[in-house]
Symmetry: C2
Subunit: 333 residues, 2 copies
């Protein structure tokens, strides 16, 4: 249970994570949304206590640490959502948490992480390596690194969302999911869902300028984001490059990857506001945005991740004021 973070994650691990998570967190709703007559099943992960799915992987990781490891603390690196997941789990388990976060992370995410009792160490996203800073902290303290995506436990934990999706569809008398469309930053969620739902087709969506995984899959090797200063509203998906543990899963399972722009993201955020009455942050809306933009077709029972809701009021207001929702979209039945 306490082995190396770079072990290969497994479906058995996902199932074990799902059991552990069900003991502490009720399943998030799976809500139907009709898009041009087709039902899209939306996994509402913003309703987690920390406002995103990141609580899953963090909990699976932290709750598997030995007493000795717990005593030495944990170090996380995160643009904000994983930060809160680690801080939440650490506070539940009485573990000291230090989180390396970008200095330009949304204020709501910085505040929430500190409110959960974690120490926050800031870095400059354009000029500093968060992994380097985290490694130095780990070396100094003997703490355990809890990486936001390149970690077997974290991948397995995120995959528990896929187990819930399948269970919730079954409770509605449906099979599947046949197709899962996931938002993609470092690839932790997409890797976990790939393991959780071996019969589902997996598609990923990245924001404009941060499409390193799509390019990596095309090239057959891990590539980095070219311009780490490329502006995006999707702060949660600003990951410079993926890790081998993710890449090995994604290269086998991802059948399509597409990029969406800010206007497309805004249309998805507005539709979720209007029809589902949920607050989805930009990075959490990209999967639905790809469907609305016609870049990915639904097929069979299609599920999308609405992965987080941690967005400042000013940005949210700006995004939902953009008028571009297709007329033919109505609320799911």
């Amino acid at each position: 249970m306490t082995g190396q973070a770079n072990r290969v994650p497994t479906r058995e691990g996902v199932l074990r994570a799902a059991t552990k998570i069900a003991e502490i967190l009720p399943p998030t709703p799976l809500l139907p949304l009709d898009v041009e007559g087709v039902t899209i099943w939306c996994k509402a992960e913003m309703l987690q206590p920390i406002g995103s799915f990141k609580i899953r992987g963090a909990w699976h990781r932290l709750s598997d640490l030995t007493a000795e490891q717990r005593a030495r603390g944990v170090v996380g690196v995160s643009s904000g959502n994983h930060a809160q997941g680690v801080a939440w789990g650490a506070s539940k388990l009485g573990i000291k948490a230090t989180i390396v976060m970008p200095s330009n992370a949304p204020q709501t995410k910085l505040d929430a992480t500190r409110a959960l009792g974690a120490d926050v160490v800031l870095y400059d996203r354009a000029t500093e390596s968060r992994d380097g800073i985290a490694a130095a902290l780990v070396e100094k303290s003997g703490a355990t690194l809890v990486h936001p995506f390149g970690d077997a436990w974290v991948i397995e934990g995120q995959g528990s969302a896929g187990i819930e999706i399948a269970d919730q569809l079954k409770a509605r008398g449906l099979s599947g999911p046949d197709r899962i469309i996931a938002c993609c930053g470092g690839g932790g969620l997409a890797s976990g869902l790939s393991l959780a739902c071996p019969d589902a087709e997996i598609m990923i969506v990245e924001p404009e300028g941060w499409d390193d995984i799509i390019r990596s899959l095309d090239a057959g090797k891990i590539l980095s984001v070219d311009d780490l200063t490329f502006p995006t509203s999707c702060d949660a998906l600003q990951t410079p490059k993926t890790f081998p543990v993710n890449f090995e899963i994604l290269r086998q399972r991802v059948s399509k990857g597409v990029v969406v722009d800010t206007t497309e993201v805004a249309a998805a955020m507005r539709l979720v506001f209007e029809k589902l009455h949920l607050v989805v942050e930009p990075g959490g809306a990209v999967a639905l945005a790809a469907i609305l933009a016609g870049k990915i077709e639904p097929k069979g029972v299609t599920a999308v991740t609405l992965s987080g809701g941690n967005v400042d009021a000013a940005l949210f207001t700006q995004m939902i004021s953009t008028r571009r929702s297709p007329k033919s979209i109505t609320k799911g039945q």
Copy 2:
């Protein structure tokens, strides 16, 4: 099953409604929100397919109609949420629905009701009686009137939310609810919750200017709203006066009623946006607003209704831009 709407609603009826509703609608989440260190359990009814709890009563009523009654259609009167509940149920059951709605109802509610296939008849809230218009329609067509609150089935159906709250608390290892704070327009929800949770203390919240039920309880008889043009953001709670079937329950069960103003409602909407990542409409936020404003204290296991999410984007952004959330409020654990 198909008797008179003015029969006395019962707890057995609530339990039967809850069973019927569970067959077609998954329970809405019961989400914890910490307010100054106390957990408030928030029933997220905006996640119903029509965006409010009104689907419950409408479904209980419509699904109990005989084939003969169904063939003659139904008439609803509603400021918008009950309209969608009746239209949703009618479309599921193949019943023709006509809804009498105020001409100044939010556009989102008018559009959604029509999109569900109902005929909408508009009236002027300040000068016309919606009940009179509905009665004329019923007389002409032989349709069944589905009143938004003064109806035994509707009361029992709304009460199913209370059965879910108790079940969800039990699943979390908690008893109760000990205290339920409900938004109150005509009193249908508060009446239903009173029947559903006979051991809970029931408190009601009305918006400034529309506090007819609080004044009625004080006076010991049903009084009307004085000024039907009094401006409020809480369109869902603009009910001129309650019905005897509601009043008889509420006079026995309501221990306290308070009024909140628009600024207090805005603070609650913003907190729900920030911490729960949900869109709550003004009328659906009044119960939480009363706690935040210090007008009602939580006691034991306290539950509030977040009863709907059908709000235009312009009003929503205006409300959440109001800055007045207490500093000490954090997300529930």
